[in-house]
């Protein structure tokens, strides 16, 4: 009954290029953090919410970076959007992780954070997930990498790096908390 758990791709990932190093990632996240505060005119009512899996540690880092240079605590959390995806029927059930979002989102500005923006479908699912938790005053989007190929009319407010790709390529973001290093890789499955 191995199939009860969602399948991991069993092909091998072949790296073609390392497009961001750990330093690049750190600088991009620092810039995004400043942009978020600048656009929000401060840290008031700000909630930084990472989309699981790899958006969650990135959101934590942005929140603590803002806390550092602004000297004010910033609420943060993590969102599992699996149950809101439009491809549940196509891809099969995936393992769930905890959603930990500050209790009250009403009237606040939620900044969603994800590692890669691609088709936009994950973000669409995240909108529904957030709106079931409350009614934010605004929802904004920050991503480390925007690789294009949108299938829905969605754009990011804050982008670490725009990365033109072909649809056959695979963009992988590694984060220290999960993968043991910070990097953005481009490659393909063989």
């Amino acid at each position: 009954m191995a199939g009860l758990r969602s399948a991991e791709p069993d092909q091998e990932f072949a790296v073609k290029a390392r497009v961001m190093t750990a330093d690049d990632v750190r600088r991009a996240l620092t810039r995004i953090s400043h942009e978020i505060v600048e656009h929000n005119k401060g840290t008031e009512d700000l909630v930084i919410v990472g989309i699981r899996t790899r958006g969650a540690p990135l959101a934590e880092r942005i929140a603590s970076s803002i806390a550092q240079f602004e000297g004010a605590d910033v609420a943060s959390g993590a969102l599992d959007v699996t149950l809101y995806r439009d491809d549940v029927n196509l891809r099969g059930p995936r393992s769930l992780e905890a959603t930990t979002v500050p209790a009250d989102l009403d009237g606040r500005t939620v900044v969603l954070v994800d590692d890669v923006l691609y088709t936009g479908r994950t973000i669409r699912a995240a909108f529904d997930a957030v709106l079931d938790l409350g009614r934010p005053r605004a929802v904004r989007l920050a991503v480390l990498v925007d690789r294009g190929h949108r299938e829905l009319p969605i754009r990011a407010d804050h982008v670490g790096k725009n990365l033109p790709t072909s649809a056959t390529e695979v963009v992988k973001v590694h984060v220290n908390e999960i993968d043991g290093e910070d990097a953005v890789l481009i490659g393909e499955y063989r």
């Binding site: 199939g3 149950l83 809101y84 029927n89 891809r91 099969g92 059930p93 393992s95 938790l133 409350g134």
Partner: protein, 308 residues
């Protein structure tokens, strides 16, 4: 993914852990203002109940609705087509023709869900068949125990009462043994099946001799309707020898759990107020049933059908 859930025999320890972990995540939804997820939108679940049930049917109905599936309730009572003589098979085909995706079935005959699974394309979930199995009850019980003891292996569990007629006992023994717990079945010899040792359980006829060392005491409902089968002398004598009264409950270890699948006969298998003791998790069992059934519906219906 498993297509049908008919028996605990189908599930490995890893499968059980995966189902319970998923239920853990889904339980959060119960604490939110909007207690609904869009995951099974457009799917249809039919509750097909040939035996009376309150908590199991409502729990399955609510679990399906929380995941946005449509729910049909079919009870084989005087108002249904069954009273007009419709056969089980014809009822199954009728549901099939209406295009249901899952059938939750309770039936008085052991093996009815297995039979049903051979007739229909829908997923079949066993909600209790005769004296055979009640797998979702066992899973919610494992979930409830796991909330208090992180690791199920090595736990000392007694299942007390009418084991021979109990599908709950059968599914629980299988689940607990799979997870590495030691299970003792306790009751009068007439109510303990002689083959129970083959399930991996110990047998005892004396609750007093095991009660001090238990981590979990699981009480089964005394089926009063069986009294005239003379399997035990009287309810009063049953309560005196095999009931968890206040005196025996005091002898339990301080962190031992008291469980019961419901409905309870207070004053028979469980002392009048023992169910309200702090270590009684009988109402948690009911609440956890919802999360566990949501988990199963998600894992069984929330996907493609290639592995069927």
């Amino acid at each position: 993914m498993i297509k049908h859930l008919l028996s605990m025999d189908q599930l490995s320890g890893d499968d059980i852990t995966h189902i319970l972990d998923t239920a853990d995540s889904l339980r959060q939804v119960t604490d939110r203002p909007i207690k609904k997820l869009p995951t099974l939108r457009g799917r249809t679940v039919c509750n097909l109940f040939y035996e009376a049930s309150t908590r199991t049917r409502i729990s399955f109905e609510l679990a399906a609705k929380r995941l946005s599936a449509d729910v049909i309730n079919f009870s084989a009572d005087s108002k249904s087509s069954v009273s007009k003589g419709e056969s089980f098979k014809d009822t199954a085909w009728t549901l099939e023709a209406m295009g249901v995706d899952a059938i939750v079935v309770r039936h008085g005959s052991s093996g009815a869900p297995l039979q049903l699974s051979k007739w229909v394309r829908a997923s079949v979930l066993n909600a209790g068949d005769g004296a055979h199995e009640h797998p979702t009850q066992a899973l919610l019980d494992l979930f409830s125990i796991r909330e208090h003891f992180k690791d199920l292996s090595g736990l000392n569990v007694a299942i007390v009462g009418d084991v021979v007629h109990s599908r709950v006992a059968r599914s629980n023994v299988k689940g607990l043994v799979t997870m590495g717990a030691s299970v003792t079945l306790v009751g009068p010899p007439t109510l303990i099946p002689p083959q129970a040792r083959a399930w991996g359980a110990e047998i005892s006829h004396d609750l007093d001799s095991v009660v001090d060392d238990l981590d979990v005491v699981y009480l089964l409902r005394v089926q009063k309707e069986r009294q005239n089968e003379q399997l035990f002398p009287s309810l009063r004598e049953y309560a005196a020898i095999w009931g968890l009264d206040a005196r025996r409950a005091r002898r339990l270890k301080p962190d031992a759990l008291i469980m019961h699948p419901g409905p309870m006969n207070r004053g028979v298998e469980i002392g009048a107020d023992v169910s309200e003791y702090p270590r009684s998790i009988i109402l948690d069992q009911v609440a956890n049933g919802l999360a566990v059934r949501m988990s199963l519906l998600y894992l069984m219906l929330g996907g493609h059908e290639e592995a069927a």
